[in-house]
């Protein structure tokens, strides 16, 4: 037992010397080739699935930053509004775990544009159905940075009245969906649009002209700006101030439809949610973390992409394992004579195998290190700064440390085996045959 251990120890010493010399004095181009393969394999393992997942992660992030906040309160399935909104609001104001929040009132509306130029009244009016959203512009700005989505015009201000922000999807020059519905034609900031509500909570009509049904109200707004975002809830909405919203809808209830909460630094989404639930708010409204508020189908796509990325990376892994195997096999085969001589003069097969395993370890460490530098030093920041333009998101590269490390471990073991096997095959060959190369 002890002798075996001693033998292994000396094999390790000799194997280390051989590995060091073969790396430092071996063929530079072969080293470069193998390290290059390792780097590419590492990248294919990490980057492909990272980008696929990142396409969705980008949309999740945008959803959190631009719409849902960290914790999202919405109406229960069988309600049309958040019950006791005022009470929830004052509680949120007092909670130190809440940095800020924004309350939204929402209802269906129709927007008509270009009605002044309308000559032919038998033709359909230039109108679209939208979600009209009443907000406090300052609070909305603080939570979701709505003004950053402006592509034309200016942000709403709470002390102004009669202005509206239009989601870009409703405007022909921005719309990708013009084959699905007829968007508004030439509408620019400063133009007037007619907004009609037929929504819930409408108790009386302030439209005295009486040209429409009793439960509808129409008002004219001036377009103040146009907002464009990959988050549908922003680009498929029309924003007005809360007071204009009340005037328009006649909604006297103080109950809102959505509250987006920005948590204070240092708290988990889940914790903030639990605190709200502990106040019993879950009986009044639906409370979700940003992750829970993501549409399920998007989450399913993310899972699918993740599996797909892993599968593609896995194929890359197999291909590079075979490549490494072949390169090291050929490398060992050309050195077969020397392997034979080493065995001939009494160097143990274990020492020679250790030499090749250590070389593989070196290759996989250096290759992965370079790969990690490329991923974290270059790709992640560069793609974060220049996201991949994808229809429903700005794709980023997701490379969380733990999964990346796990992939590295897989690569490590595969490479070590791919280095060990050829060495073993050649070490096992008859010593004299190796020396005489027959």
């Amino acid at each position: 037992m002890f002798r075996k251990f001693k033998k292994f120890q000396t094999s390790l010493v000799v194997g280390t010397l051989l590995a060091k010399r073969q790396i430092t004095r071996g063929n530079f181009w072969i080293n470069l080739l193998i390290i290059g393969i390792m780097t590419l394999t590492f990248l294919s393992l990490v980057v492909i699935s990272g980008i696929l997942v990142g396409l969705l992660e980008g949309s999740f992030q945008a959803n959190r930053e631009r719409y849902s906040g960290d914790v999202f309160i919405s109406t229960l399935a069988d309600e049309s509004s958040i019950q006791s909104t005022g009470m929830i609001q004052s509680t949120l104001e007092s909670l130190p775990i809440v940095q800020d929040f924004t309350v939204r009132y929402k209802s269906g509306a129709t927007i008509e544009a270009n009605y002044r130029e309308r000559r032919d009244f038998s033709a359909l009016p230039n109108s679209v159905g939208v979600n009209i959203v009443g907000i406090d512009p300052e609070r909305e700005e603080s939570v979701t940075g709505l003004s950053e989505s402006l592509v034309e015009g200016q942000m709403l201000e709470s002390d102004e009245s009669g202005y509206i922000l239009l989601g870009s999807t409703f405007i022909r020059r921005y719309s990708n969906f013009s084959d699905l519905f007829e968007p508004l034609d030439e509408v620019y900031p400063g133009d007037r649009v007619k907004v009609s509500v037929t929504g819930k909570g409408l108790t009386f009509s302030s439209d005295l002209s009486g040209d429409s049904t009793a439960s509808s109200n129409t008002q004219e707004f001036i377009v103040k700006g146009i907002v464009k975002s990959k988050v549908d809830e922003v680009s498929l909405a029309a924003f007005v101030t809360e007071s204009d919203y009340r005037r328009l809808t006649g909604d006297t209830s103080l109950n809102a439809q959505e509250i987006a909460i920005k948590k204070a630094d240092g708290y988990e989404d889940q914790y903030v949610k639990q605190v709200l639930v502990s106040y019993g708010f879950s009986n009044l409204a639906k409370i979700q973390t940003a992750a829970e508020a993501i549409p399920k189908f998007l989450d399913d796509i993310k899972q699918t992409f993740s599996i797909l990325g892993t599968a593609i990376g896995g194929i890359g892994l197999v291909v590079s394992a075979i490549t490494i195997f072949i390169v090291i096999y050929i490398n060992a085969l050309t050195r077969r004579k020397f392997i034979g001589i080493l065995k001939g003069i009494g160097i143990s097969g274990t020492a020679i195998e250790i030499a090749y395993v250590l070389q593989s370890v070196f290759y996989v460490l250096i290759g992965s290190l370079i790969g990690a530098l490329i991923v974290y030093g270059l790709l992640v920041p560069v793609i974060a700064a220049n996201p991949i333009d994808f229809p429903f998101s700005d794709g980023i590269l997701v490379a969380d440390p733990l999964p990346t490390f796990n992939r590295f471990l897989i690569l490590f073991f595969v490479t070590v085996i791919a280095g060990y096997l050829p060495a073993r095959l050649i070490v096992k060959k008859n010593t004299l045959d190796s020396i005489l190369q027959r």
């Binding site: 001693k6 120890q9 000396t10 094999s11 010493v13 000799v14 010397l17 051989l18 010399r21 073969q22 004095r25 071996g26 004579k337 020397f338 001589i341 080493l342 065995k343 001939g344 003069i345 009494g346 160097i347 143990s348 097969g349 020492a351 010593t431 004299l432 020396i435």
Partner: protein
């Protein structure tokens, strides 16, 4: 006392249809401290004999006792270990490891025996010095002449003071000057009591040998034992 004792050694190559019987019941004895030359025509089986008695190959049949050990009874690992601890080799083509420099080539068997690097380097440097290679310790094989490479390989072979030193045509690739230097080195080792078994084609290199074995057709045809000159 016989350090190598071979009885009825048979080595057959191939199997089934084409069988080449290379060694046909060969007998010989080599005593400790002897410098033995093996001679014979090309294809006579000289190298084959050397491989069998130096544990690089396995005989088909017969008995080979080396340093008191029946080598046919050893398994692969034991044979490797035996070669490390008891035998030294000099090959026709030097057989140095190209990535290792002269001193590393010499000390690698010492490291394998568990000797510390410092001690190994000390002994390796001495060996190189004995062979007139001081100053070449850090040269890699491709930075040495053929003769120098062969002397490095002799240094590697003797660094652990092996019981027996085997050499298969150690001068075949060398010019006469280098050959003479190699033979001179072997001669000096022999004078210190080293047992040497050398295959050679050159009659002139056998003048210092204690014994010359002539092989014909895989059998010992003649054994010439030199009279030691009386001092």
């Amino acid at each position: 006392m016989a350090i190598i004792s071979v009885k009825n050694l048979i080595k057959t190559y191939g199997n089934g249809e084409v069988e080449t019987k290379v060694l046909r019941g060969l007998n010989l004895e080599i005593n400790s401290g002897e410098f033995v030359a093996i001679m014979g025509k090309s294809g006579a089986g000289k190298s084959t004999l050397l491989y069998q008695i130096s544990l690089l190959d396995r005989p088909t049949d017969g008995q080979v006792i080396v340093d008191g050990v029946d080598i046919l009874a050893l398994d692969e690992d034991e044979r490797t270990d035996f070669r490390l601890k008891h035998l030294g080799y000099i090959f026709q083509d030097y057989a140095l490891v190209p990535e290792l420099n002269a001193i590393e080539n010499v000390i690698i068997p010492l490291l394998m025996e568990g000797i510390s690097e410092d001690e190994a380097k000390k002994r390796g440097t001495e060996s190189l010095k004995e062979l007139g290679l001081d100053g070449k310790a850090n040269n890699r094989p491709n930075q040495l002449s053929g003769g120098e490479q062969q002397r490095v390989s002799i240094a590697r072979a003797i660094v652990q003071n092996p019981q027996i030193l085997f050499a298969d045509e150690p001068t075949a690739n060398l010019d006469s000057m280098s050959s003479a230097a190699v033979i001179e080195s072997l001669k000096r080792l022999h004078e210190k009591g080293q047992t040497i078994v050398m295959v050679t084609h050159e009659e002139e290199y056998t003048v210092d040998c204690d014994k010359v074995i002539y092989l014909i057709d895989g059998q010992v045809a003649e054994e010439r034992i030199k009279q030691k000159p009386l001092k």
